[in-house]
Amino acid sequence: MSINKSKVYINGSLVGFHNNPSKLKQDVLKKRRKGEVDDQVNVAFNQETNEVYISTDSGRVQRPLIILENGKSKLTADILKDVKEEKITWDDLIKDGIIEYLDSEEEENALVALNEKEITPDHTHLEISGTAIFSVISSMIPFINHNMAGKAIHGAKVFKQGVGIPSANYRNRFDTEMHVLYYPQRTLVTTRTEQLIQAHRRPMSQNAVVAIMPFKGFNMTDAIIINKGSVERAVGRSSYYRTYSAQENRYPSGQSDEFIVPDEKIVGFRGEDFYKNLGMDGITNVESFVEEGGVVIGMSSPPRFVEEISEYGVVSEERREASVTARKHLKGYVDKVMLSQNIGGTKICKVKIRTELIPQTGDKFCSNHGQKGVIGAVINEEDMPFTSSGMKPDFLLNPHSIPSRMTVGHLLETIAGKAASLKAEIIDGTPFYIDKENILETLKEFGFREDGKETFYDGATGEKIEMPIFVGPVSFKRLYHVVTNKIQSRDTGSIQLLTRQPTEGKEKGGGLRFGEMEGDALIAHGSAMLLHEKLIDSADELEIYVCSDCGMVAIDDKIRNRKYCPTCPNGNIEKIKISYGFKLLLDELKALGVYPKLEIGDKI
């Protein structure tokens, strides 16, 4: 039958058979290049399975390539000239069949030349630019072609986490969370992609002078030393905005929530001091200071159950306190307040609170090349090492973070950055199109070493550091992982209702779990009493009365000061110490119909 014919699929479903698959493919190609078929249609012929795939659906990643015909580029010098003079646009190039989009399937049939020099008659396409193999974001990283692939990916990922100016209208927006960098700078070393998409007009990084040297062990395992002087000059300083919102919900009883300044009559009144920042309308005044957990929007809710009318016919209204408070560990100034209504006419209030985030130990920074780290120490400016010209670096990176990660791009960017700042012009670091000679020439011209190293002196003693140290400006990003939002600690505090064990989680004031493996470590160590303290004494210790005759938990009547067994009339009651978790287990066993009989003995 059709065993020797090739199968033809459109968008993955079999539509028919064809005698001459390569002709079919060529026909579709021709029509596409003529513009008779949409330019996003792709054809691929798989010789092994003898199948032709035609794809017109969404979700395929395509990339543009220059078409070659008989080993000659269709993008001739004449056309290029027209493009330069803006006579021809990109769309024209595609319509005229000079450039076409390939998807991953059709790419399997293509032989792509990387540059014009290596074109042979076998080649079907020519790369528009070497940089085109990178994504938009990764091609914004200068010297990325010198990096290890994993670190290049890492560097690209960081663009999402970097703090910059998120939008032009950030002042008017009410995002739940927003970071804004104080003084973003254009990078000294840029790429053509960055210019093309005009990312340099809204930068998200700062050019920090980075020296690669250890410093008293404070920058080991990827920690970063930051100069306190730089911090005071606002390196990495940013604002953190958080929006709190509330609305006046209406309830079936006819009553509704209300934005007010709560008074003493309201159940759950916190005290005068808590509401001192609130204006007449119950909303915090703009630019007033809000403490950790302070009231942002004063609000009261109606009682949960409608009260019965008393004998005098007066409804005593007991409204509840329902104010919105700021988060724990977050204080700041009220930046903006918004009052509005939703479609149903419910009043909505949003309050944006601004916190200044000054870089401190634990904040995260990252270069373009995936060299990330948290601040290990903020060092006084006078203690920082300095060069013979008196320059003090902003950051100190540990040299161990370079060789194993092979981020040569980071080092090259340092040298290029140095040349850029000396020459006072921005240097192009587009991958594959780098003028290294020129950069080194510039360094020499200004009397610097070609290898980017400089002599340093110890900040504390003034002694010369023997080895010359690699230093130069690199673009660094502040990432939105900030310690103030993550730090947590606990001594005593809230417990869970069911198990009476300490709560878990930062917002609930919980601690860090002392888990099973940690407990095992103590058992292995043989410290039985420490284990007992961690698991019982500081968790859910319980003193309980037990009937030693029937082995059931006794009743402790605190009002009559009487302890008795519910089953035995004259049971002998003893006090024991167990964990509350075990008491729960006993209850559950009883619910299962199992009689857990406790046998009591002396501790010693």
Binding site: I523, A528, L531, G581, F582, G593, V594
Partner: protein, 387 residues
């Protein structure tokens, strides 16, 4: 101070005799060894089982998850990594990659050719491995067609094979006639035979064993310290040991349950240790022998190989709470309640559940202080110090 075990004392004796030590010197040696021996003893109350579990479990996280297959090489692949460790520790009934190492008696095979032939003769060959059946349902005939390439590969004699198949099939199935042929055998069934029966017969015939040892899928000759050794894929210890050319003392299989069957529980215990050690060491991890032997002891102590699973040793714990805390909590608690079991609180988990100090480490010691006696003791001590 504990005295030295007999074994060590004997070794010291032998050593001193060999070096002709004087009595004083020998005594000093014994003193030193005794001191070291006592220093390296485990403190009473140490949770050695838990330490063993941690010492095996932590390096276990570094083991590879996948089995390595080397394409093209004739090497027999052995399960490696965490998969294999779980297999051993769980005491599974069947290993995923059973393998044998067959050592041969000295100089049984003069030439390499003979050895090769012997190695190939071990491979389990069934009717289906050397040919296919073709059915003709209309005429109710079935023809067996030999695969000549396969025959050559396995070094089999054509006529011998043919007659063997001819005989074996004759034995097993009756209602048919046959005519032998060059390339194969034709079988003609009775005209009344239901087609279903023909297919059934074929499936049966395919499984008829012809040559070799059952379960040995592949044999490869490897060299070990200048000696030729046959490695196999698949394992059948009891049958292989019956072959006269095989060195029964050294031939080994990695199938622990088979070792248990053939040699008994002590051999199984030793092979658990050996296999675990081999698996960890081939991943570049060294684990102290003591941890492994504790595990192996626990798995073998009641005469059968039992895994560390709820059907194995974990399910046989005496404490109902300890069993319930592992898996199937409700089932264990209810069955304990039906049997009226008593919790003795001798283990660790039981005491943790209740909230009592555990009976290990410092919790093991039951020391009470008698203030009257204490004063006496202090005086006595002071007197001693003055002297």
């Amino acid at each position: 101070m504990r005295e030295l075990p007999k074994n060590i004392l004997e070794r010291i004796e032998n050593y001193s005799n060999k070096k002709s030590f004087s009595d004083a010197k020998k005594k000093r040696l014994i003193d030193i060894v005794t001191k070291r021996y006592n220093e390296s003893l485990v403190t009473p109350g140490d949770a050695i089982g838990l330490i063993a579990a941690q010492s095996i479990g932590e390096p276990g996280t570094q083991l590879t998850l996948r089995t390595k297959h080397y394409a093209g090489s004739l090497e027999v692949s052995v399960g490696q990594g965490i998969q294999r460790v779980i297999e051993i520790v769980d005491g599974r009934l069947s290993s995923k990659y059973p393998s044998m190492k067959i050592y041969l008696k000295k100089d049984v095979f003069a030439t390499e050719k003979k050895l090769n032939k012997f190695a190939k003769s071990l491979i389990d060959i069934k009717v289906s491995t050397i040919g296919d059946f073709q059915e003709d349902f209309e005429n109710r005939t079935v023809s067996f067609i030999l695969n000549h390439d396969k025959l050559d590969e396995l070094d089999l004699d054509k006529e011998e094979t043919m007659t063997l198949i001819y005989d074996k099939i004759n034995d097993t199935y009756v209602s048919k006639r046959f005519t032998p042929n060059k390339n194969g055998i034709n079988f003609t069934f009775d005209k009344t035979t239901p087609l279903f029966n023909i297919r059934k017969a074929l499936l049966k015939w395919n499984k008829i064993p012809l040559f070799g040892v059952k379960n040995l899928e592949l044999t490869v000759i490897t060299e070990e310290a200048g000696e030729k050794v046959i490695s196999t894929k698949g394992s059948n210890l009891s049958e292989v040991l019956k072959i006269p050319e095989v060195d029964t003392d050294r031939t080994y299989t990695n199938d622990i349950l088979e070792i248990n069957k053939v040699f008994g529980i002590e051999a199984a215990r030793a092979s658990i240790i050996k296999e675990l050690k081999f698996t960890f060491e081939s991943n570049g991890i060294e684990i102290n022998q003591r941890h492994l032997s504790i595990l192996a002891d626990l798995m073998c102590f009641n005469g059968k190989v039992k895994g560390v699973v709820r059907t194995g040793i974990t399910g046989e714990k005496t404490s109902p709470f300890a069993r319930a805390s592992f898996e199937e909590t409700v089932k264990h608690i209810l069955s304990a309640a039906f049997d009226g079991e008593r919790e003795n609180f001798k283990g660790i988990i039981e005491n943790l559940i209740v909230g009592q100090p555990i009976l290990a480490g410092t919790g093991r010691v039951k020391l009470t202080l008698d203030p009257k006696n204490l004063k006496k003791m202090i005086k006595k001590q002071e007197g001693l110090e003055e002297n």
